[in-house]
């Protein structure tokens, strides 16, 4: 899941300065789960903006705001969107980007959220970063724990000198991820994996922007 956090209303009002008619987009997927872009947050934003003299021309809660087809459909069905002075999107950056792509050169689109990270959900409302989408997954040799993401230095060959009784000096609340990896590999009797020198990461796998285009499968009906 993509984790987002609300921007300060003052900043949003700054974006919207001089624009009266505002259309709101929410996202019923990740942002809804994060309590940043669901039905309730759209309502809250409507109240805040009205209190500050804005006219809300409408709201749309899209199932996945990063899905271009869905957003496009909404634009077609709803003329109020394009006749607004601004569109505010309560979704992750990918959602904002999708809406902006459709609005193109006409109506300016603004983000209401900051996009933070890709999370594992421990349980409802508890999100933890576990993968930074590096393009070259090494979890097979790190017992399913990502040092690239969970070690503040992204080290690949074991702990730095900053381990304090198994914890990380950069943030003492956290275990040193290399101690965790070590313990799990040891329990699995796989320490030989740790003893091999891990080569430098191949960053050419992560050159931006990245894209994936699947070949259409004819066999599928």
């Amino acid at each position: 899941m993509i984790i987002t956090k609300k921007k300060e209303p003052s900043l949003i009002l700054e974006y919207l300065d001089g624009r009266k008619k505002v259309y709101l987009f929410g996202c019923n997927s990740c942002a809804e789960q994060c309590q940043t872009g669901g039905k309730r947050e759209l309502d809250e934003m409507t109240v805040i903006l009205r209190e500050n003299g804005k006219e809300i021309t409408g709201t749309s809660l899209i199932d996945e705001t990063c899905y271009k087809m869905l957003v496009k459909k909404e634009f077609k069905a709803n003329e109020a969107i394009m006749s607004s002075d601004a569109i505010l999107v309560l979704a992750c950056g990918a959602g904002v980007k999708t809406v902006a792509e459709i609005a193109e050169n006409s109506t300016p689109v603004f983000p209401a959220l900051d996009s933070l990270f890709l999370a594992s959900v421990e349980r409802y409302g508890r999100f933890f970063e576990g993968c930074s989408l590096c393009g070259e997954c090494i979890l097979g040799s790190t017992a399913g724990i990502c040092p690239h993401t969970l070690c503040p230095k992204g080290l690949l060959n074991g702990p730095c000198g900053g381990v304090i009784n198994g914890r990380c000096e950069v943030n003492i609340e956290n275990n040193c991820v290399w101690v965790d990896i070590f313990r799990r590999l040891k329990a699995q009797d796989r320490l030989n994996v740790l003893k091999k020198i891990h080569p430098p990461k191949d960053y050419s796998n992560g050159v931006k922007p990245r894209k994936v285009i699947l070949e259409r499968k004819k066999t599928r009906a």
Binding site: G158, G161, V163, E169, V170, I197
Partner: protein, 298 residues
């Protein structure tokens, strides 16, 4: 000129000390300290933006030491340079006459004075050691031949007091496999534990410089205990400091004692006296006077 490699190979008890570059371009204080240490030590370690605090470049300061007739150990961390900069700086050090390099991970930027900086860590310390080995073989990190390589004496660090020890040990052995030939340890206070580490490390073809950190006061000792990983100053030393009139003098005495102890079994010692480089000379003198130096246990 004393040379680190020569000294270690000839099995003499070898002493190095750390010198910290200035926070600016005024090198007078740095050079004063260097001149003080000249002849007293076998090599001087130049720190590389230690604790992520920005200072004059370790490469430039290593060259200054060389000009003063001191064998420098050029410290390089993985925090501030990507693999291109790392390789060109290492080759740069070589052509300028620098012969020793110490590879470190580096402290995280969140400790320093530029907390909004991007931490690089393109390589880690094992990969850095490996890269230097490749340069020594005349190849770059991608195994492409260079027009002239390096022949650096490669060092790395180890924390014999790490808790838990096993992951640190695995990394230590990887550094050896990658080509590290001498090791500088974290400050030692538990000499018995260090001796055990030394016995275990004897199986490898490496030299070890035991770390001595000058305790300037009881306050500093307490600070180290709460803030510096892997350093555990025992209570009795803190009490010894507290009960003395001149705490710095006591700290020098303690360090001299440790130096003497190391002299009895280890390959050498690395003295860290952050900001108190003049005390290094006193520590060495005092260690000699405590009793005549024993034969080193190489």
């Amino acid at each position: 000129m004393n040379s680190l490699k020569q000294s270690l190979i000839s099995k003499r008890f070898t002493i190095t000390a750390e010198i910290c570059p200035p926070k600016g371009t005024d090198t007078s204080g740095f050079l004063d300290k260097a001149r003080l240490l000249k002849g007293q030590i076998d090599a001087a370690n130049v720190t590389d933006n230690q604790r992520a605090v920005m200072r004059l470049s370790s490469l430039a300061c290593s060259l200054l030491l060389l000009r003063e007739g001191i064998d420098p150990v050029f410290q390089m961390t993985c925090r501030d340079r990507n693999r291109l900069a790392i390789q060109s700086d290492i080759m740069g050090a070589w052509v300028l006459g620098i012969r020793n390099i110490l590879a470190l991970t580096g402290d995280h930027v969140s400790f320093g004075d530029h907390r909004n900086a991007k931490a690089v860590f393109d390589l880690d310390s094992v990969q850095l050691v490996q890269t230097i080995s490749k340069l020594n073989e005349g190849n770059n990190i991608n195994d492409k031949p260079l027009k002239g390589g390096t022949d650096l004496f490669i060092g790395a660090v180890v924390a014999p007091g790490a808790e838990p020890w096993e992951p640190e040990m695995i990394k230590f052995e990887k550094k050896i496999e990658a080509g590290a030939r001498f090791f500088q340890t974290q400050a030692i206070y538990d000499m018995e534990r260090f001796q055990k580490f030394f016995e275990y490390a004897r199986q490898f073809d490496i030299k070890i410089l035991g770390g001595i950190l000058l305790l300037k006061s009881a306050k500093m000792a307490n600070f180290l205990n709460t803030n510096v990983p892997g350093v555990d100053v025992p209570k009795r030393l803190i009490e010894e400091l507290e009960s003395s009139k001149d705490q710095l003098e006591k700290g020098i005495e303690i360090a001299a004692r440790q130096l003497k102890e190391l002299n009895s079994f280890c390959h050498g010692a690395h003295i860290m006296a952050i900001g108190q480089e003049e005390s290094v000379v006193r520590i060495i003198e005092k260690a000699k006077s405590v009793s005549s130096a024993k034969t080193p246990g190489n």
